[in-house]
């Protein structure tokens, strides 16, 4: 993979991740209001996936 193509692929991966999370949590509001445990879970999963992407990117 060339250096120029990396930002594009990273952005595509992030878009795909976002789309999948939107699909998984499609029946729940995104707002992280007090007491909204589903929104907190979504935020943690999002952080976890981003962390995984960063680690994979760092190893590439």
């Amino acid at each position: 993979m060339s250096a120029e193509s990396q930002p594009d692929s990273t952005s595509a991966a992030q878009d795909a991740l976002q789309a999948r999370l939107d699909h998984l949590f499609r029946h729940h509001p995104r707002e992280d209001a007090a007491g909204n445990a589903t929104a907190v879970l979504r935020r943690y999963i999002e952080h976890y996936r981003r962390q995984g992407e960063q680690q994979a990117g760092g190893q590439a």
């Binding site: 999948r20 699909h23 998984l24 949590f25 499609r26 029946h27 729940h28 007491g35 909204n36 445990a37 589903t38 907190v40 879970l41 979504r42 943690y44 999963i45 952080h47 976890y48 962390q51």
Partner: protein, 279 residues
Amino acid sequence: MKLALEQVVQGIHDLPSLPAVVMDLLGKLEQDDIDISVLAKKVAHDPALTAKTLRLANCAAFGLQIKVTTIQQAITFLGVQTMRNLITAAAVTGCFPAGRCPGFDDKAFWRHAGASAACARGLARRMRFNQDVAFTAGLLHDVGRLALASSHPEAYAAVLAWRRQHDCSLLEAERAVLGLDHVDAGVALADHWNFSDTMRQAIARHHAPDMPGSGFLAAIVHVADAIVHALDIAGDADEQVPAVSAVAWDAMGLTEEAYLHLFRETELQFEEMSAILVA
């Protein structure tokens, strides 16, 4: 295509029965007065059960430094509590005929069940709760789905079609099509198999942990179930995360860092375990 609870119970009675040793263990899940040598002998009489139990015991998740080759040896290294839960897991997963219900993905079911077991066990460890009981509750929380799909495959295929069409939760689809849900079926199965009260309650309340008297195990299973759906482990394109109870979530009292570790642990452990369970 409504089903009466009596039809569900009859369907459950028609399923292959569990080995006597497992029926005995299910009723005594939280008791410690089990004779190890008798247990080992009873299990050893069933070669298929022995083989699957030993494969589970040798999973990396259980952290053994050596490979165990007999039930007695496994009990020595893992303890009675862990072993009786592994024996139960091995027996229950072999009890349901696969591939009978069109649209029901048995592998996806066991992936979700195996991951829920691993996640519930991880939560229990952090909460200083009984890890082995949490593992079994995580594994069996949705067993009512399997009972319905095995005993009433055509009716359950209609549920799955209804769910796809309406993009709703499985509980909603089951209630709309069958007039009852997998929780009702799970409780009926728990009664038939003589599950302990704690296990029965975890199955009964894993979608309603806020109800009075639900117990902490139901809260653990509820949170583990939601996490596994959110981790997208089953491999279902139509996957959806259920609403998480704030009461159950707060009861866990974990930090974000602890949850991120738990997610990683669950993903690392479930694959090997699920492959054995579904074999």
